[in-house]
């Protein structure tokens, strides 16, 4: 009997959660990762993971409110049924990770502690120190190692995904494997599978410097996109309000710093050069607290980012005249801070050389997360009200309980499947849950939910659908050989450039740097038609240059320059989708802010942008209806005080 297999590309939280779930369902799993899976980017998630628990429930919170917050936080762009299911599952997911041994912080009595996070008035964020993502990933890494020792999982670490393999022979396209390259030996080969799960994370490197790990190029998603997989809401890029500027990357300063009482301020007097401790309270401008009395410092990320940008760029109030504001924790006990935020405060001290327990941190926004990603579908669950409900009043009785299957139908094969059968997208690379803005501490949740909930969908697809009749193992070799040959030829062509002519403009590092600078200037905090058009022209120029890129390394062994150059080339197709989506979405919604279309336009744009890659690599974007059957949209103000609205940025592209 043939062994049915599933390939998971990416060994972060979503990938490993899927691996564990699918292996448990009795299928063999091959995991592919650029790095040892324990070093995946999920380790960088700091603050925590949201879920209603018994304490917050008694305070008036509910799974339904979590759902409502996530939809409102995402500015009504996410499909609503999947988000409902995710919120309902959140408590179960926390329990499971707790059983796996994640050292969640505890209350005095030994229960799991909770902290406050952006976009909620309730403490509903579970955390393990300030390295929650690391701790959750390690728990899944451990379970994966356990399955590996039992022979149920094979890990292929230091292998790079080069593209999906599709089979069209049955009349309907389906994914039957991948082609990948060993980054040490440089061997290119195909791997067969009855289903493939893409769990390859975000695309921060498209912006050059971001809070992302060096491996988060988005190239894997780009390779699927170029092969015909649709890409949704590309223009929705989250810029995190608080990061530490650096020469090589912009390091995240967790939202938990604000959740634990951190206050954002600037001196009221522009250019005030005094030591921050010498500036009396009356001469400090706590602008988030003044503008948003209800949420204060814990407004959602897109709002905090725009306000910080406004303070620095438009009002010129940045600390010491630079693009930076204070994030101040010095009013809290050092011992309390060490216990709750130790990990991230150590990082600040290591990289900046100042103790944030004694001196306010200096921070500025940085590209952080992609709400957009591969377009996916789902099967609606049982909850289908005759008309959408109005916004949930915070703390009131929820209209429904949290039984499984109300949002999404559990185990349906198409849950989080892309437009290609047998090809799934989980985690950050899936566009499904966060709409136009992701709430803090919902990313870890969506990764785990995809892996654990939709993992069953993958298993059911393999057992009950096409693969059960025509397993990938039995397909003709030609379909796999063709893709391997194409990728091998691509590698050879890149290596051949080493001998060829070239100047600095064809250096892949130079091209990437220009790409990052351009995307940061045109496609982040504020966007405008003129600037976006300029960006699209620039991207065409870069695409031309990267097609002639010249490598500095001809090695046939462990050639990182080859892999890097290929990634830069592929990143440009995601950049295109981001820029074109930004240009065509003529409204402002969540993280997407247009100076020339400042209002949200629900009639024309409460729709997902869907990018498709044409046969010549050109990007086409259409707007498709979304599932808005559960909650009626309302203005997303977070209680902003009227009249405190400062003038909005007039000029796009001042950059982050």
């Amino acid at each position: 009997m043939t062994q049915q297999r599933v390939i998971v590309v990416g060994g972060g939280l979503a990938g490993l959660a899927a691996t564990v779930r699918i292996a448990e369902a009795g299928l063999a799993v091959d995991v592919f990762s650029l790095v040892p899976v324990k070093r995946s980017h999920s380790v960088c998630a700091q603050g925590g993971i949201n879920a209603c628990n018994e304490v917050s429930r008694q305070q008036g919170y509910s799974e339904y409110e979590h759902f409502d917050e996530t939809i409102y936080g995402g500015d009504f762009l996410a499909d609503q049924h999947p988000v409902l299911e995710m919120a309902n599952w959140a408590p179960k997911i926390i329990d499971l990770l707790d059983r796996m041994g994640v050292p969640f912080n505890r209350t005095g009595e030994g229960y799991r502690d909770l902290r406050l996070f952006g976009g909620s008035l309730f403490k509903r964020t579970h955390f393990a120190g300030a390295t929650t993502g690391q701790q959750l990933l390690y728990a899944l890494d451990e379970q994966t190692r356990r399955y590996e020792s039992e022979g149920k999982v094979s890990k292929h670490e230091y292998w790079e995904f080069l593209g999906p393999v599709f089979d069209d022979s049955s009349g309907q396209r389906r994914c039957v494997g991948i082609v990948a390259q060993d980054l040490r030996t440089m061997q290119v080969r195909a791997f067969r599978a009855d289903a493939v799960v893409m769990a390859t994370g975000g695309c921060g490197l498209v912006y050059g410097k971001s809070t992302n790990s060096i491996i988060c190029t988005g190239a894997a998603a780009a390779r699927c996109y170029q092969a015909g997989v649709w890409y949704g809401n590309a223009e929705m890029i989250q810029v995190h309000p608080t990061a530490i500027p650096g020469a090589d990357k912009l390091r995240l300063m967790s939202e938990s710093a604000r959740g634990e009482g951190g206050r954002v301020w600037v001196p009221r007097k522009a250019g005030d050069a005094r030591d921050p401790a010498q500036i009396p309270d009356a001469e400090r401008y706590y602008f988030l607290e003044e503008r948003y009395p209800k949420y204060g410092n814990i407004v959602p990320r897109d709002i905090a980012t725009r306000e910080i940008f406004d303070i620095c760029v438009n009002e010129g109030l940045g600390v010491r005249g630079e693009n930076q504001v204070y994030l101040d924790l010095t009013h809290r006990e050092p011992e309390y801070l060490a216990r709750k935020l130790g990990g991230i405060l150590d990082i600040y001290e290591k990289f900046v050389g100042e103790d944030p327990k004694r001196t306010p941190m200096r921070i500025f926004p940085a590209v952080h997360y992609s709400m957009g990603g591969l377009w996916t579908q789902f099967t609606k669950g049982r909850y289908n009200p005759s008309e959408p409900r109005t916004k949930h009043k915070s703390g009131s009785t929820p209209p429904l309980g949290a039984e499984v299957g109300q949002g999404m139908a559990y185990g349906e094969p198409n849950n989080m499947q892309t437009n290609v059968k047998g090809l799934y997208a989980f985690g950050e690379v899936n566009y499904a849950y966060h709409g136009a803005n992701r709430l803090g501490a919902n990313a870890l949740l969506s990764c785990l939910f995809d892996g654990l909930f939709c993992g069953l969908s993958v298993a059911n697809y393999v057992k009950d659908c096409e693969p059960s009749k025509a397993p990938a193992e039995g397909l003709k070799a030609a379909v796999f050989d063709a893709v391997v040959d194409a990728e091998t030829a691509k590698s050879k062509a890149l290596l051949a450039t080493v001998q060829g002519p070239g100047d600095a403009s064809l250096n892949p590092y130079v091209i990437h740097k220009e790409l990052g600078t351009e995307m940061t200037a045109a496609c982040t905090v504020v966007k405008s038609e003129a600037r976006l058009k300029q960006c699209i022209t620039k991207l065409a120029e870069l695409r031309d240059r990267v097609s002639r890129a010249k490598l500095d390394d001809a090695a046939l062994w462990t050639n990182q320059t080859l892999s890097y150059t290929r990634a830069v080339k592929d990143m440009l197709s995601i950049a295109d989708a981001i820029a074109l989506g930004s240009l065509l979405r003529k409204e402002s919604r969540g993280a997407h802010y247009r100076t020339d279309y400042k209002d949200r336009d629900d009639v024309n744009f409460m729709k997902a942008s869907v990018a498709r890659c044409g046969s010549r690599g050109e990007t086409e974007v259409t707007f498709e209806p979304i599932d808005d059957a559960l909650i009626r949209p309302t203005a997303r103000t977070y209680g902003k005080v009227e009249g405190s609205e400062s003038k909005k940025p007039a000029v796009a592209g001042a950059g982050v």
């Binding site: 040892p36 179960k92 799991r112 690391q134 190692r145 995240l252 990082i347 990289f351």
Partner: protein
Amino acid sequence: MSTIQKAPASARRSAKPGRFVFLTIKRCDGPGKASRWETFKVTVERGSNVISCLQQIAANPTTIDGTRSTPVVWDSGCLEEVCGACTMVINGKVRQSCSCLIDDYAPNEGDTMTLEPMSKFPVIRDLWVDRARLFHNLERVKAWVPIDGTYAQGAGPREQPQAQETRYKLSECMSCGCCLEACPQFNLEPDAGAWDSAFIGAHAISQARLFNSHETGAQLKADRLDVLMGPGGVGDCGNAQNCVKVCPKGIPLTESIAAMGRAVTIHGLARFFRS
């Protein structure tokens, strides 16, 4: 090779942005190939670290004697000292290269720093080493909680905050390998067949302690102690205490080794009287 040692924190403040420094890097084209040294000149700004210097070299890999070389190969990931990937030997001491600020190590114009791959693992190319053995040793001590499965079965065991704090500290181990590089008992072993009898290392001993101290994890306590009692187990520790000094996360590795040493003794006695 003359190198300067890490400068005091005050040096960081007086370091001049825009100065040039030299990086002398031990390079190797692949397994079995001879190593060579190459020196590159880089310009550094405030906040520059080893990673930003290596990126600069990648964009223009010309050595100080004018030879066009190749970009240096190295392993990296998060760049914020939480993934463990970019560990290397800098000025003779093992550490992560991302958190290694040039202002601390080379505060003056023209200062030199040296970069070498870790010596206890086989080199893949240049500064990139193969740490598969480190992960293999986690498997040896069954560093996981043996849960029944992923079906919902309610919460895990309740835990006192003090116990959580101890476990959290141990669980911050990012498998970087600093403790192994610094350990006189842990030596290069390219032959995977010999790994199970060679010293298992401080990181794995500490992980055994982590999982033995979890209520469900303790189900496998006897298996873990069997491994630590056997060849290459806790008895092979020479008590040099280098591991704890180089751990970037301040994990109390020597405490873990002592705790597991005691547990192994009790475990051995219990086995003796049972048999």
